[in-house]
């Protein structure tokens, strides 16, 4: 029993990171009913950008946030304005296919520029770990991931509850026509929602880079994690997304401990498929 404590705790901590990965997708899906299939690639792009800035300036990986976030934000804004806004009225398939095309382009660009080698953002945080009560070890980086997750979700919660932007996003998610009738411009609010989503992708990308090794093709598995978080936790619910992250994190690490590390992703996928089958709207979802 005690041997499962470590993957359990670490899974929960990892879940905090997963929640950040998923919240961006959840936001866009809630308001536009679209899934940006390039979400994972945007994350990994942030990881690579962080690497670039690390090599340009000798700074701590955590400082790269300052550079990476604006770059990715601008990229996301451009993508929304020039790619996605053009197919707003054309239905779900166009958006899906364009975001798919975009993900392929980004993936292969990164492959070309950065080669297929494994990379990681070296930091002492990843090596150090906390020894808790002599029962288990908690890598410090996971604590950082979890804390960042809490901060990001807390910030988002504040925005959603107390600012015009947040109310506008929630209103447009709820009833787009009524939202237009109170003066909300759909294109503007889509772009802003996309901007927030992309910022969370950037943050989680840098954290992922510090926590794991990454490759140009890593985007796929994180997209699936993001989707998993949204599905399990339920759409449109911040606490739900957090819960989804925790469940996915635990099932992955615990499952990995039980059926073997090579099959770690598999246990997460299985949980996801089960939830998709039984309750596609998610555990706490409304849609």
């Amino acid at each position: 029993m005690l041997t499962s404590l470590e993957p359990l705790i670490n899974g929960l901590l990892l879940g905090g990171l997963y929640a950040v990965i998923g919240i961006g997708l959840s936001l866009v899906f809630g308001i536009m009913r679209q899934v940006n299939l390039a979400h994972g690639e945007l994350m990994i792009l942030a990881s690579y950008l962080s690497l670039v800035f690390l090599q340009l300036f000798a700074i701590h990986p955590m400082m790269t946030f300052l550079f990476v976030i604006p770059v990715i934000f601008i990229l996301g804004y451009l993508i929304q304005t020039f790619l996605f806004n053009r197919v707003l009225e054309k239905g779900m398939e166009s958006y899906l296919m364009i975001s798919f095309g975009l993900s392929i382009i980004l993936q292969n660009l990164m492959l070309l520029i950065f080669t297929p080698d494994a990379r990681t953002l070296q930091t002492s945080l990843a090596i150090k770990s906390l020894n808790v009560l002599d029962l288990f070890n908690v890598p410090v980086i996971l604590l950082v991931d979890f804390l960042t997750g809490i901060i990001v979700l807390g910030l988002l919660h504040f925005i959603m509850k107390k600012t015009y932007l947040g109310w506008a996003i929630r209103a447009a998610t709820d009833d787009l026509t009524a939202a237009r009738l109170v003066g909300i411009n759909p294109r503007k609010v889509y772009a802003l929602a996309m901007g927030i989503a992309v910022i969370t992708a950037a943050i989680s990308g840098v954290l992922v880079g510090m926590t794991f090794t990454f490759y140009p093709h890593s985007g796929t598995q994180y997209l699936i994690i993001a989707f998993g978080v949204v599905i399990i936790g339920g759409l449109g619910s911040l606490p739900g997304t957090f819960l989804g992250g925790l469940i996915l994190g635990v099932s992955q690490l615990l499952g990995g401990r039980i059926i073997g590390p090579g099959l770690q992703l598999l246990s997460g996928y299985i949980i996801l498929l089960i939830v998709l089958t039984i309750k596609p709207q998610g555990i706490l979802g409304r849609r």
């Binding site: 015009y164 939202a179 003066g183």
Partner: protein
Amino acid sequence: MVILEVKNLNVYYGGFKALWDITLSVERDQIVSILGSNGAGKSTLLKTISGLLKPGSGSILFHGERIDHLGPHDIVKLGLTLVPEGRKIFSNLTVLENLMIGSYTPTARKSREGQLENVFELFPRLQERKNQLGSTLSGGEQQMLAIGRALMSQPKLIIFDEISLGLGPIMVKHLYQTVNRIKQKGMGVVLVEQDVKRSLKTADFAYILQEGKISLKGRPKDFTEEEVKKAYFGL
């Protein structure tokens, strides 16, 4: 003073011509009623005025400026607000948040505290329930919320689409009293209703639509019952 003018409006909807050569006007401090049976075109007319639909031809002027090419969010900024049919309040926002988002436009935001007080004065029930989710309100309360939300946008003209639908007589009476108070505050009001009697009693001017055309217009007190029936049903 005329604030809204619709001139020779022709609108197509779902492949059919829904409105034929519609001309009407609304002045400030005036309640204008638009009546008609189901399918007469009332809803299409309101959607076009508020910007959700674009007309095939004709023009809509608000304070002398053309608005028929604008989207709803720009029209609200100019001071024309629609209270849509079926209320369409935001069920996942609280009462207070619904009202807050009503003051989304830049001009409305500045005076939101004052407007909020006005709304709570008109509808004390909303103040009681201000932290409750929209979905938990009763039909009548939702209608009050929809009106309150529209008021928050500081409109100069407010359009009510079927506010009495599905509500009991006491609530309807209260709502119409509110409509009168709104007119007295200096706004123009357009009332679209199926309840012919009550809306003709309240209105200063009325238009009756039949199959997309205006079949009767004038001051309601000048109408005979025969005229109204014929204009409404076409018998």
